[in-house]
Symmetry: D2
Amino acid sequence: MAGNTFGTLFSISTFGESHGIAIGVIIDGCPAGLPLDLDFIQAELDKRRPGQSKITTQRKESDTVQILSGIFEGKSTGTPIALLIPNEDQRSKDYNHNQTVYRPSHADYTYDAKYGIRDHRGGGRSSARETAARVAAGAIAKLLLKHHGIEIFAHVSAVGTIQAPQLQALEIPELLQIREENIVRCADPAVAKEMIEFIDGIRKDGDTVGGKVSCIIRNCPAGIGEPVFDKLHAELGKAMLSINAVHGFEYGSGFSGSEMRGSEHNDIFLSGGTRAKTVTNFSGGIQGGISNGMEITFNVAFKPVATIMHSQQTINAAGEITEIKGKGRHDPCVVPRAVVIVEAMAALVIADLLLRNKTSKL
Amino acid sequence: MAGNTFGTLFSISTFGESHGIAIGVIIDGCPAGLPLDLDFIQAELDKRRPGQSKITTQRKESDTVQILSGIFEGKSTGTPIALLIPNEDQRSKDYNHNQTVYRPSHADYTYDAKYGIRDHRGGGRSSARETAARVAAGAIAKLLLKHHGIEIFAHVSAVGTIQAPQLQALEIPELLQIREENIVRCADPAVAKEMIEFIDGIRKDGDTVGGKVSCIIRNCPAGIGEPVFDKLHAELGKAMLSINAVHGFEYGSGFSGSEMRGSEHNDIFLSGGTRAKTVTNFSGGIQGGISNGMEITFNVAFKPVATIMHSQQTINAAGEITEIKGKGRHDPCVVPRAVVIVEAMAALVIADLLLRNKTSKL
Amino acid sequence: MAGNTFGTLFSISTFGESHGIAIGVIIDGCPAGLPLDLDFIQAELDKRRPGQSKITTQRKESDTVQILSGIFEGKSTGTPIALLIPNEDQRSKDYNHNQTVYRPSHADYTYDAKYGIRDHRGGGRSSARETAARVAAGAIAKLLLKHHGIEIFAHVSAVGTIQAPQLQALEIPELLQIREENIVRCADPAVAKEMIEFIDGIRKDGDTVGGKVSCIIRNCPAGIGEPVFDKLHAELGKAMLSINAVHGFEYGSGFSGSEMRGSEHNDIFLSGGTRAKTVTNFSGGIQGGISNGMEITFNVAFKPVATIMHSQQTINAAGEITEIKGKGRHDPCVVPRAVVIVEAMAALVIADLLLRNKTSKL
Amino acid sequence: MAGNTFGTLFSISTFGESHGIAIGVIIDGCPAGLPLDLDFIQAELDKRRPGQSKITTQRKESDTVQILSGIFEGKSTGTPIALLIPNEDQRSKDYNHNQTVYRPSHADYTYDAKYGIRDHRGGGRSSARETAARVAAGAIAKLLLKHHGIEIFAHVSAVGTIQAPQLQALEIPELLQIREENIVRCADPAVAKEMIEFIDGIRKDGDTVGGKVSCIIRNCPAGIGEPVFDKLHAELGKAMLSINAVHGFEYGSGFSGSEMRGSEHNDIFLSGGTRAKTVTNFSGGIQGGISNGMEITFNVAFKPVATIMHSQQTINAAGEITEIKGKGRHDPCVVPRAVVIVEAMAALVIADLLLRNKTSKL
C-alpha cells in the first residue's frame, strides 16, 4: 500500500488534491445493514468546512458529499461505500507564486524530493483539504459506533498558551452543545471567548498560532486493541499524527505521567466484568494496548499553520534564495476546524478495532 | 493481521511469552546481500538485557540470539530471517499470585477481557520481554541503515522531573560513548549521576518512576515517508506507542510547538537539493510527513512501571476486592533499558520507509 | 481489507454497483512521472464496452472514464489516481423480477446469505460491470509496463468445444491487429469465423456458452514474483479467478503437464544472464514462482453466462419453488469482452510484482 | 509483505530453508480458546514426511514439531503460535554440484536472478520442505474448522494419465480410511494399485511423473468469501498455485465447464436457508465467489518433479553449457505426499475466510 489507506477491516482509502476535480474516499468493510444518514454525514462536514466564522479561512466550499455506491434503500450493503466531494472554490492562480518556490515548513520541497513532480496548486495532495474525506468517512464510522452505544467527543483544549480547564462532568450531548455555541469549539465558554479574541488578534497580525485538541471516548467495551503492535493507543496515535500539522500525541497521563511514581500512577481497580472501574484513570482507559472500559482520553498537539501573511526568506526549486509572502485564504489557527477531524479519525480507529476484536475468541 | 506484525516491506512478526520456551521474530523483506553481523545483534540485545546494573531488574537472562534462516555465508538471502531467543530464568512460581488477581495498571484484566484465557506467568505476551525480539530485528534494520549511511541515537532525556539538557553538538559515535559510560544511558554525565541516585532511591522505596527517551536520526535522505496516512512521524509515533509503558510521542517542536506562532515556528530554508538545510528545525526533519534531510528528532514518554513492592488494593477474576504486593524482580525505571528499544523501532520504521520509497518515482 | 483491493504496491480498489450512480477505482502506488494517456485508457474500455457487436449484450453504455485525481500536466504525481465511470443505461425495472427470486448459478442467494441485504438491480456489486473499473486501472498498469518494454496479449482460444490452434510466431502488434479484425477476438481468422457463427446460433437459442482466453506476456525481466506465497503464477491465478465466471487457471504446461514425465517436461537451458533462454517452455516463463525471462503463458476457463432466455425452476428468498426467465440484455458468451479484462488483470499483477521486486536486493 | 505470509485474519508466516537449522511458521490470529492437539498436528506432518514408502523420497526426517508460543494449558491464547521443525537429515554435500549449476526447471536460475545470492543446498528456500510448515499450520486450521463442523478431504485423482473415477458417496471418515490404506493416497483401491505400479516403474527408470489432487470441503456455511477480489475460489486458487510444482487449478466444472451451455451448466436451486441445495453442483459450492453451502470441489494439477536421475544439458552461473545428473533422494511423483498439503492450504483459506466473514453484517 502506498500510504493512502487506513484501517484493516473498516478501512478507508482517500484520494484527491486541493485544486483537482474532486476529493473522496472509499470505505471498505462497513458491515451490511447500517443506516447511512446522509444528513448526519453532511452535518459533520459542515463542522470542518472553510468559511464558517471570522477565525477560519474565508474560502467558500459547500463541501457537498455524494454517496456513489455501497448503499441500497438507505442502508449499507457490505460493498465499498464511495463518497465524492467536488472541489468548488479553487483560485489556483493564488498559488502561481509557489510553483517553483518552496514555502517554509510546507510540504513543497519534500513532495518534489520524493516524487519529482508536484501539483503546487493549493498544496495539492498535501493540503488539509484531504481531511474532508476523512471527516465524511469518520461520520459513517460514528454511525457504526452509535449503533454500539459508543460516544466520542473532542474540543479545543488549548490555543497557544491559553489552556481550557478539565472537562466538566457532563453527558456528551451536553458537552457538544456547549462546544458548538462558540466558534472556537472549546467546551469552556469563558476560555473560548479568550481564545477567540486571541486568534482574532493573531489573524490581524497576519500570523498563526498552534493549539491542542483533547478527545474522550465513552462506553467502549473492554477488549478493543490488537497487541503487540496495533495497540489501541498506537492506532490512535498513528491516526492523529497522520492529520496535517499534528506534532504530538499523548493518552491518559501522557507526558506528565513520565514524571510520576508507580505508587501514584497505578489505577486501583474497583470492579471488573465487561467493563472495569478504576479509582483514577491515568491509564486513559487503555491497559496493555487494550481498552479496559473506562473513558479513553488523549490529547493532540497542532503546530501553527505555516502560511503567514509576512514576507519570509526561502529557496526555489533551483536552490536559489528568494522571498515569499502568503497569499490566498488561510486559517490563523486550525484547531477549531480540526476538532471534527480528530473525532473522525478516532471513530475510524475504534470502528476498525471493534471489528478486529470479533475474532479474538472462539 | 492480528497485530503482531509491523512494517510493510521490511516487516517483522514477533512471537513468544515471558515464561514460554522462547521468544523470537521473523523479518521478512530484508534485501538480499546484507552482511548479518551476529556479534552486533547480540551486543544490541545486551543493552536491553535484564541484570545489567543495580538500577535494572536482577533477572538473569543471557538473551542469546540464534539465526535460524535467511542467511547464507554470512549474508541475507532475501528470504525470511528467523531469530530465536530461548527463555532461561523464568521463576514462574513468582507469578502464581496473579493467576486470578488483576494487578493494577497491568494488562491482566484486559487480556482476560479480550481473549478469555491468559498466560499469567510473568505477564505472558504482555510482558516487555517481547521487546527483546524487536531489538534483535532492529539490529538488522540498523545494519541496513548503516549500509545507507543513516545513524540513530537515543538516550534518556528525563527520569521523573530530572531533565537532561539539549544534546551537545557531537558526532553520534561520541554521543554513544558518553551514553554508554553511565548505567542510566543519559548523554550528560552530570545529569546521569543525578538520575542514577534518584532511581536507586526509588528502588529502595519499592517504588518506580517514569521517564523520557529522546532520539535523533541523522543522514536520512529527503523523501522518506508515505503520505497521507503512513507519514514518517505517524509511523514513528505508532512504533513508539507500541512499546510497553509508552504514553506519549512528539516530534520536532512537539507539544511546545502548539504554543508557538507561525512566524517563529517556520523553518527558513537555506538550501535544497537532495537534503535541505533550514535555519531552525522545529519540523524535526519532517515536512508533510516526508523527511527533508535535516536531523529527525522525537521524544517518547514512559509511564512508571506498574509493579511496585507496596501492597495495593485490587480485584480478582471473580470481581472481588483483594490485596496484591509485587513479587519477582522488576525494574524501578524502564528508560535505561528502553533506549535501545526506541532505537530499534526507529530503525525498523526508517528501513521500511526507505524500501517503500524505492517505488515513488519512475 | 474487505476484498475490494488488489495488489500490494501498485494496488487498486474498485467500487460501485451495476445500477448505482457510478463505478470506479482508486489506483494507489503508481510511480510518479508516468504519462497517463487518457485516449489509451478509453480505447481499452471500448474493448470491454457492451453493445460492440451482434454477439455481445445490446446494452448501451459509453463507459466514459474521467480522471479525478493523481494527475498533473498529463503525468502521474505518485498520489492516488481516482477513475470514475458513470452508469448510463440502467433499466433497473428489467430486474424487478429478481428482487426476491434467486437466479440459478448467480450470486443472488450467496450475497443475501452473506450480507443479509442485496442491491438486486442488474446483479449489483456481483455484476461483471465492476470489471470496467479493472480495465481502466489495467490500462494504466499497461502504460507502466510499456515504459519497461513489457507486452501483454490475450485472445479467445476456445468457444465451447471450438479450439484455436497455437498462436502464430508473430510480433504482438501483428497479433493484436489480427485479433481486432474479428468480433470474437480470436487470433486465428478462420476459427474466429466458426466461433462467431456458433455464438450467434447460441444467442438465437436464448442460450449461452463458455470459452477460454489465452494470454502471453513478453519481455518480462527475470526475477519477478515473491515466493513462497506470492509466486508470479499464484498472483496471476488469483487475479484471473477473481474475474466473473472464471472456473479455471493453468500456466505453462498446465493440466496437461500433470500427465507428463520429468524427462520430457524439463526445459533445458540454452543461456542465462538477465533473461534465460530454454529449448521448451513448459514452465510458462515461471520457475519457483519467479519469471525466468521466457514468454509467460497461461489459460483461463470461463463458464457459460448464467442468464439464459429459457424458463428455469428456482427458489425465492422465502425458500419457495418458483420459475424465472432471463430478461434484460445479456451476453451469449463473455470471452470476446473478457479478453481485455484478462489483459488488464495480468498487467496489474506484473506492475505490482515489478515494483515489489525493486527491493529484493541491496 | 515480502511474500512469506498468507492469510488476512488467520495468517501464517513461514520461514526456513531445506538445509538450514530449522523451518517453522508463525500463526497469527487463531482465536483464543481452541484446544491445540499436538498429536493431531504431528500425525498430519507424518503424512507429508519423506521416507514413508517405496514411492516417496528415501530421506529420513522425523519432522518433529514443537510449539514455542501461543498455548497455555493446552489451548490457544489468541497470541502468535510459533511452530518449529528442526532439520535433521541434510546431506548438503549431495548438492555441491549445483552450487554454480542451474538445474533445468528448478528455481536455481530465477533465485539467483532475483536475489543475487542463493542457498543452493537442497534448493534452499525453494525446496518443498517449506510445505511442512504449511502442513503444521494447516493442522491448526483444521482444528478450528472441526470446531465449526467443517470437513476437508483430498486424494490423488490422477497419476500421469491414470485417472481415478468420481468419489464414492461416502462420509469423509470412510473416504479417509480408504485413502490411507494405500501408499499413493487414492480413494479408489483398484486405481491406487495401478498408480503405485506405474510410479514404481517411473522410479526405476530414474524418471518422474505429474499427477492431480482433488479436494472436497463439506459443511461449509453459506457466506464464506470476500468479493470482488478475495473470492473463495480465488483464494483457494492462489493457495494451491503457491504449492511447489502446481501448474493448474479449477473448481466446480472447471475447464470442462468452458465447453458447456448455460442451460446445462446452471445449478437449479431446491432449497435455500442457511445452506442452499441445488440439483447439480457445477458451481462447485461457490457462486459469485461466496460459498452457497453445497460441497466445495476443486482439482489441482502437479507437474512432474524436475529432478531426474538422467543426465541433462544445462548452463552454469557463468552461462556456459554443462551437464547435470540428479543426485540425492527425490520423489518420483509428489502427489501422494501433496494430498495433505492441499488439505492444509484449503483449511487455511477456509479458516481465514470464516473469520473475515464475522464482520460482514451488523
